[in-house]
């Protein structure tokens, strides 16, 4: 229900943008800026590039205001543009990407780890950063389409049908992309399967142990 309401509001806003209403464009931007930038950031793991491409996404939306048709869900349309730009960027920067295994943040095993004064919160922060780096690496190593599908499913909470529309394939193809991606992630991240806040490792690290009991 809420989704339908949002659909109406987004498309109504877009139609008003067509009439030259800048306020409506600002509202659309306010609503979708974060999801688009976050998607691009996770896709490319470079905040500056993500924001630059997001600029282009919204510029294209603005340019297309006259040809916009409310038949397609606005979010789907937006993510199609974003995915298209992200995949093109990856294609054009493949060499650069190959030279930078981890892209955005400094390595966690630098001098910071040698600090003698290891207060618990510092230690915990370093641990969190290390875990985050592993998550980023695991996602960055996924094939582009699997990566895009997982990011839309996990972080953008999009439906299979929307992801399918964005990637230009069937829903069953999307499911298959997701199965494979999550399975790969499970293998790569299994060793992290203990919450950093608990600070204890379930015996043997096995997921079937009570430490990770199924709700």
């Amino acid at each position: 229900m809420a989704a339908v309401a949002t659909l109406e509001r987004d498309s109504e806003l877009m139609l008003r943008v067509r009439e030259g209403d800048g306020e409506s464009f600002a509202l659309l931007l306010e609503r979708h800026r974060r999801p688009v930038i976050h998607f691009l950031y996770r896709m490319l793991q470079d905040q500056a590039v993500a924001e630059e491409l997001a600029q282009e996404v919204f510029l294209r939306v603005y340019r297309a205001r006259n040809s916009y048709e409310p038949t397609a869900k606005f979010t789907t349309w937006l993510f199609r543009i974003a995915t298209h730009l992200a995949l093109n960027w990856i294609r054009d920067n493949q060499k650069r990407l190959a030279n930078h295994a981890s892209l955005d943040e400094e390595p966690v095993d630098g001098p910071a780890l040698q600090v003698a004064d290891m207060r618990p919160n510092v230690e915990q922060e370093l641990l969190r950063r290390a875990r985050r780096e592993e998550v980023k690496r695991a996602i960055a190593r996924l094939p582009e389409k699997q990566r895009a599908a997982v990011l839309m499913h996990k972080y953008s909470e999009m439906e299979y049908s929307q992801i399918a529309a964005v990637l230009g394939c069937s829903e069953s193809a999307v499911k298959s992309l997701l199965f494979r991606a999550y399975e790969t992630l499970r293998k790569r991240l299994a060793h992290l399967a203990v919450s950093p806040t608990k600070g204890t490792r379930s015996r043997g690290g096995r997921s079937s142990e009570p430490g990770l009991e199924f709700r």
Binding site: L59, R63, A64, N66, S67, R128, R131, S176, R186, F214
Partner: protein, 184 residues
């Protein structure tokens, strides 16, 4: 509930369960089943663990100047649009498409002539350089054609295209994505 591991539905169910898309009754059934079935319990616990680990990755905040920069670009684009319209004013919209097509044709013909005409250089030099030159020339032609193609939507944006007409380029066409093959 029939055992999802045995019926091959576990991956499907896990995706829906973890993204909270499963009907509450089905979710409860699944939980009850997992309490009794070690295989499913292990599988779903592992999937849940991955799901939770992925939650730890938060995206950084957006730069405060993002909206301002976008406004600046839109304003610049509007100004450029006016400039283009002034430049193209002598051409009526009806004239523009044939003109662009003719220009494109002219580029192709010119390129063909350039590529076929032997350059006045020594045979050795020609052999050495021909491949590079050809590639350069072809790239230039492609670029020129791209320019003409790009020109079209920019200039015709508000004048010729019927409102609501499908314009793949403007909605971020997925040509490249599709060209790379199917999803699966």
């Amino acid at each position: 509930m029939r055992c999802p591991t045995k019926t091959g539905r576990s991956s499907d169910l896990a995706l829906e369960y973890l993204s909270s898309r499963l009907e509450p009754e089905t979710a409860q059934e699944l939980e009850r089943h997992c309490a009794e079935c070690p295989a499913c319990r292990e599988y779903f616990a592992a999937q849940r663990a991955v799901w939770q680990i992925l939650d730890e990755w938060e995206a950084p905040p957006t730069s405060p100047g993002f909206d301002r920069e976008l406004q600046r670009r839109i304003a610049a684009e509007k100004a450029r649009g006016k400039w283009w319209r002034t430049l193209w004013a002598p051409f009526t919209p009806r004239m523009l498409k044939p003109a662009a097509a003719f220009a494109g044709l002219a580029v192709i013909v010119a390129a063909a002539v350039l590529l076929r005409t032997p350059a006045p250089v020594s045979r050795e030099a020609a052999q050495r350089g021909s491949e590079a030159v050809d590639v350069e020339q072809i790239e230039q032609v492609v670029e020129d054609l791209d320019m003409l193609y790009l020109l079209d939507p920019v200039v015709l944006d508000e004048t010729v295209k019927p409102a609501g007409a499908a314009e793949p380029d403007k909605v971020g066409s997925l040509t490249n994505v599709r060209r790379r093959g199917k999803c699966a």
